[in-house]
Structures are given as C-alpha cells and as structure tokens.
C-alpha cells in the first residue's frame, strides 16, 4: 500500500515510503518495506503488529534515532533529520536511578537549558495529574512499576508535549495496572491535546486509545490495513463491548493471527 501525500506542507506527522534493512552476519535483513502513515495534529494513531515486526524500528526512525534507507519523515512540513523533534518514550521506563522523581521529570527542560522555576512549577502541577504528587523526592527504585511508567511519560511530556512517540509504554506492567493506566492515558492525552503515535501489540489497547489503527505485517513490516476506530476519545473501557467495536476487534485479531 503506497500513499503519496497530496500536501507536503500539511501540518502533522507524515511518514512516506519508509524502507529499512539491517546487515546481520552478512545477510541483509529487511525490516520495513514502503511504510507510509500520517498522524494529524491532535490525533492518536496506533501501530498494531506482531512482536518483532519492526514497529520499534519505525518509531526510532520517526524519533530521529535511526535513519531510513529510503523514504521521508515530515513533522509539520519539515523533514526530520536527527533526534529531538518529538517526545520519545522507550519500552522500559529508563528513569535515571541516581535522580529523584522530580529531577527525572525535569530532565527535558534541563537538557534544553530551561530548568528554571517556571518549568519546575509546571512539573509540580503536572505531577498531580500523573498521580505522583508527594513522591517528588523519591528515587525510582522505591516506586511501583505503574508509577515509574507514569513518571517516564511525564518526563516525555515535559520534554515535548505536542508530539509523543510511545513504544509499548504499558507492556511491562501487570494486567490490572495496565488496564488502569490505559484508562488514565486515554483521559490524559485528551486533556493535554497531544498528537500520539503509539506502538503496541495489544488490540484492545489500540482500540481504546486511538482514532486510527495501522495494522502492520510480520517482518518486513508493510501496512496491511488502516482502520478507523468508531466513537470519539476518550473512550471508557465499556465502549469496547459495543457491536461495532467487537466486530473491529475480531477483524484485527483475525488479521494478526492469519499470516499475510
């Protein structure tokens, strides 16, 4: 599926015809093949695909951490060259163990040289939204998995709130905490008004959180389909039981389980 963008200067995130392969033990390993997708401003887009299909590589290219062999990534009309244009959150929380929670959250402003009282005030206010108030001086090792993941997201938001690239942010959590955080994340993103590109292999998570789901094939990843999720965000978990949702979930599951 090849999509040519009609408006190269359009706002939003535009990924066009991305190709990527690695050399492994002398063999060329093709990871991405002609992947194109768009994230409109304020949109929540999920990349759903089997484990190891190249989703993370795609996100790293969008984050500017890796370069594509061919294809372009445009953010608000500007081609992304190098890191730092969007907020990138890796799979594990990667909080710095030697920094307190507040210091970890303030990492972005500090790296930008803007760690003044204004940024700190903003961080302290957001800490409450993230359910972390009262833990400012705690070291990461003393926090629960859910709290660490929320802290990592807040660190990402403090770095760049408009564009969030989330690489399976909830996959390391236990099932109950994951459900809680999915619900929380749905409401949070709606409040912040961020544009999000989420990588996940959890169908229900994608349905609950996104406007549009791109279904990726096994490696080399190609876009197998683009699914618009009915209803408006933020959704409640109960909405997943509506007939339209159940039908879409069935279609996605079926597509995931049947090899392309």
């Amino acid at each position: 599926m090849i999509r040519h963008s009609a408006h190269p200067q359009a706002p939003g995130l535009e990924v066009t015809d991305l190709n990527k392969s690695f050399l492994r033990r002398g063999d060329r390993l093709e990871v991405l093949r002609e992947v194109s997708l768009t994230v409109p401003p304020g949109g929540f887009i999920s990349l759903l695909g089997p484990s190891g299909c190249g989703k993370s590589t795609l996100l790293e290219i969008v984050a500017g951490l890796a370069s594509a062999d061919r294809g372009t990534v445009r953010l608000d009309g500007h081609e992304v060259r190098g890191a730092g244009a969007a907020g990138y959150m890796p799979q594990r929380d990667h909080l710095l163990p030697w920094r307190t929670l507040l210091q970890n959250v303030m990492l972005g402003p500090e790296l930008r040289g803007q760690s003044g009282p204004v940024a700190e005030q903003e961080a302290r206010e957001l800490l409450a939204h993230f359910g972390l108030a009262g833990f400012e001086a705690s070291y990461p090792a003393t926090l629960s998995g859910g709290m660490r993941q929320r802290a990592a997201l807040l660190r990402t938001v403090m770095y760049e709130p408009r564009w969030l690239l989330l690489d399976e942010p909830l996959s390391a959590l236990d099932a109950l905490t994951r459900l809680e955080l999915q619900d929380w994340l749905a409401r949070l993103v709606a409040t912040l008004g961020s544009s999000v590109l989420l990588v996940t292999h959890d169908t229900r998570e994608a349905l609950l959180l996104s406007d549009v789901i791109y279904l990726l094939s096994e490696r080399p990843a190609t876009v197998r389909g683009r699914f618009v999720v009915p209803g408006s965000r933020p959704r409640a978990a109960l909405e997943l039981t509506s007939p339209a949702m159940v039908q879409l979930e069935g279609a996605l599951m079926n597509a995931l389980l049947v090899k392309a």
Binding site: L65, A83, Y88, P90, R92, W98, L111
Partner: protein
Amino acid sequence: MMTPNQTAQQLAAPPRRTAKLRTWLYQALVRLGPAALLGALILTAWQLYVTTSGVLPTVLPAPTRVAMALYTNAELLLQHALVTLAQTALGLAIAVVSALILALAIDSFALLRRALYPWLVAFRTVPIIVLAPLMLIWFGFGMLPKVLLVSFFCFFPIVVATADGLARSDPELLKLLRAMKASRWQVLRLVRWPTALPSFFSGLRIAAAFSVAASVFAEYVGGYAGLGVLMLMATNARATPLVFAAVVLTALASFTLFALVSVIERRTVPWQHR
C-alpha cells in the same frame, strides 16, 4: 527463672521509646556481638599466654603492656602518626585527581583507551611498593618519595575502576539521552559519571585501605619521621611494646581512611543506600 507469661508482661509493659531502644540494642548485640566477643577472647588468650608462659616482653608483650606503651609514648606516637597520615592523605589526593583526569581522557578518546588501558590493568597487578628503594635513590629521604609512592600505588586501582565504570553505561539510557538531544558533556554529567561513581568508590576504597601500608613501607626503606621510621627505631632498640603501639596506630589510620571513604560514598551515592 521467669515463666513465659512474666516475660511477655515485662516486654509489653515499658513505653514505646524504651521498647524501641531495647530492640535497637538487641539488634546491635546480634550484629556486632559475635565479632566483639571473638576479639575479646583473642586478647584474653594472648594476655593469658604471655603471663603464664613467661615469654619475654621484648619478644611478645602482653596487650596491657602495649596499651601502656600507647599511653606513655602518646606524644611521640602522635607526632610520627601525623607525618604518616599527612603524606598518605596527600598521596591519595594526588592519585584521585590524576586518576580521574586520566579515566575521563581514556573514556573520551577510543585510541587512548586502546593504547593505555592494557598497560594500566597490567600495572595494577604490580606491587608498586617494591619501587620504594628507587624512590629513595631518585628523591632522597624526605616526604616527597613517600607521597609519590603512595599516589603511584593508589593511582592504578582508581583509574582502572573508574574507566571501567565510565564504559559500563546502559546503552538504552544513552539512547534516551540521544532522543532528547543531549550534548556529549550532558551525557557524561547525567549518565556516564553517575554510572561510574560506584566503581570509582570501590577502587578508592581499596586504594585508601592500603595507602597507609604503602606510606609506612616507604618509611621503612628510609626517612626521617613517620610510623615506619618509629617502628624501625623501636625494633632496633628492642622496644617491642612501642613497635606494637605503632602497629596499632597504623591499623587505626588504615581503618579510619577506609571508613571515611565509605561515609563519603554514602553521601555521594545516596540512591544505592536507600
């Protein structure tokens, strides 16, 4: 004898603070008791052996005699101990500063690491104190050769440990910092240096613990003052209790330095101790 019932009543009776103090004392006793008891036993056995066997005090003085020697020669001992301590501290400080600079340089330039690191690891296994006579030939009998020997001795464990620590950063953390467009200096300050700190301190603790020994050994070989010189003089004068007194002070100085480094480490690396 108390019945179990009475014991329970007595334990429940005192107010909370006393109870807390009691648990604390009990825990301290459990933790330190066995070691203290063993030490006391050895001292007692030593004392008993000396008094019953009639061994000469010039060969093996009793612990009480060593204590007496410590007391009566306090001023002399302190004078020499201060010399040893000063040159040890100075040597250690020089070693720390130069080792940190070299470790950072090695970490910054891959070629430097490949050229120097194997030599540093090799030198770490060389007992540097055997160089003491050479130091004497080159730098005389003053404090300088002792300070140099101590810093040379302490330098290798610190530089190797720190260079190892700097290279051991989590690549995922480095990737995260790269995603946030951190500069080289920021990556060093925020990730690599904190990662290296525990390694640096384990190198420093080893160096600090043995630095006093290096200092005393350098004094044995030749010098004007210091615990090593005092020990040599006391040995020649068959003043064995004084030799023991100087040994006690040497051990005390080593222990104090080690403890000091541990305290600094606890304050500098708080995230590992909470």
